[in-house]
Subunit: 337 residues, 2 copies
């Protein structure tokens, strides 16, 4: 096989077969892909199925803390997990620019496989397209995902369970992903330790759902940052948020990055963080589950739900004031995921 | 809302919300998208679920017989239907080049919705990414699909049911899609009637499965053309094909196109054609179901399954000779789907 992707690799002919057999099957090999049907036939044992999709166009392809392949798995796994599903099956669609090195593609495929194994999901169907040089930027990946939802958690995703007085947590520091990507792209700080938090949160979320009785809502904090997510949830639930600015965990590196470049960390995307909303009565349990988990060491309770100002997010600032936290209008930089 | 796609439309902030509400929801509006969860929760009533993905990068975006949006629905619906599934739910992931006109996007979204309605499927989750001008060619769409498979048809997709003596049909003329795309792109023939056959075949396939007892295999004929598909199936089943060249339906337009430009119509992609393999005893029934269907008027029995030369496809030519039909190695042109 050639060492660069050529137009023929996306043709559906022998070269495509070679690519599938020699690269994708090398890592993804399983009974579903082996069946080589146009669709993967998967078993269902539950009535509710979660089904989601996300395309990943991040630039650069490799960054501190992850790469396009890892992100494409984590992102979709998280989208399933936050709806109360047990993420089970993924599909992967590759749009590849002619001329991409096979080594790059292989490294990304390998990384997808490693993360899929870690998250316990199977990649059960795939697709490869190649476009002419200059018609796409190296590689875009779509992953769609399917997972099964217990009857108990079928209303987790719609926000209707959220109640006045509920507490709000995040599982760690905010803004790490976007700051790391911007820094990787522009090299603002040469020796920074900025690193993406890119991670599959289904394990942590499963523990919360299994061990707590009052989890009302979970949502991963991605594009739009904490501010974007809180506004979305405030809108869905017709309730408001009271957030304590000094409780929000932000790493020193991200703080310094944002201060020197004028970014708002609460508008910045994470890829391994979620908000969790639960009844006050379970506050200790929620905090303890998070803090004992690999991806929740810096978890913090950051505020609560209020009826006072429905639809709004009020920030109690560190200097003792109160201000409305505005939602982001548009990200400053494209292609952070 | 602006009349061109800007970077902010992919940001996850308010501009993305506007785009979703004012464009996508205008057409796709349904209970699942309205729930605005990260995953769509869909009901399952069957044990086997088909789950597939395909990215569509066709150029041009609009062509005689269809457009990117219609194709993105048909293609994935067909991938589900040929595995014996009842296509039920689709996801749609959009990768959009900054600067694409909203009108173009709207026309494509509209077309997706129309085709989804025609095929009886729901688009239950979506994703939008925008990349910088020059980093993608206008618009790429990924559709992933899910469908439920009756116990009876769970082995349709794996090729293991195919038996010596089975008959092979196609539901109409071959090569229409690829010839139409090439002609639309290069304008080889100004007043040609070349038109893509782009269509959702789930209705026709459902009739065949419901009314026949011996359907052994179905596969849509896409990239790689009839030759590619037959070789793939010959490989899967360890049986051979005997194909009568003079039985293969090819339109006069495609014939003329291929002769003057030196293309092999049996290597050319369709988007509304499939091969059907069934027992000889049901030959009349299969033919009659096809010919009475909107998408099977030019259906033809083109050959049969043999043990004589496993893995090979032998063509009985019009001039009385026999030759091996070679699989395509690579398509001549990229981005036909």
């Amino acid at each position: 096989m050639a060492n660069k992707i050529e137009i023929g690799h996306g043709s559906g002919g022998l070269m495509t077969q070679e690519l599938i057999q020699e690269l994708f099957m090398k890592y993804f090999d399983n009974q579903w892909l082996k069946a080589e049907g146009d669709s993967a036939i998967v078993d269902s044992t539950h009535q509710k199925i979660a089904f989601t999709t996300d395309s990943y166009v991040i630039n650069p392809l490799f960054f501190p803390g992850g790469d396009l392949g890892k992100l494409a798995v984590c992102g979709t796994v998280n989208d399933l997990a936050v709806t109360g599903a047990r993420p089970s099956y993924l599909t992967a669609g590759f749009i590849i620019e002619e001329g991409l090195s096979l080594e790059t593609l292989e490294n990304i495929v390998k990384s997808m496989k490693a993360e899929a194994d870690k998250a316990g999901v199977h990649i059960v169907a795939g697709d490869t397209k190649v476009v002419e040089k200059g018609q796409a930027d190296r590689l875009f990946i779509n992953t769609s995902g399917m997972g099964f939802v217990d009857e108990l958690h079928k209303n987790l995703a719609n926000g209707k369970l959220i109640t006045e007085g509920d507490r709000v947590w995040v599982n760690g520091t905010l803004g790490d992903h976007e700051a790391a990507i911007m820094n990787a792209r522009e090299a603002y700080f040469e020796n920074s330790r900025l690193e993406s938090d890119c991670a599959s949160l289904n394990g942590l979320i499963r523990e919360l759902l299994d061990r707590c009785n009052t989890i009302r809502f979970i949502r991963d904090i991605t594009r739009g940052g904490l501010a974007g997510i809180l506004h979305e949830v405030a809108g869905m639930s017709s309730l408001g948020f009271e957030i304590n600015e000094d409780k929000i965990p932000i790493s020193e590196g991200v703080q310094a990055f944002c201060e020197s470049l004028g970014y708002e960390p609460l508008h910045m995307a994470c890829e391994g963080k979620c908000i969790v909303i639960a009844d006050e009565s379970e506050a200790e349990r929620v905090a303890s589950i998070m803090k004992n988990h690999e991806f929740g060491k810096n978890a913090a309770q950051i505020g609560q739900i209020t009826k006072e100002h429905p639809g709004d997010v009020v920030l109690d600032t560190m200097i003792g004031g109160r201000r409305l936290l505005e939602p982001p209008r548009a990200a400053k930089v494209p292609r952070i995921c």
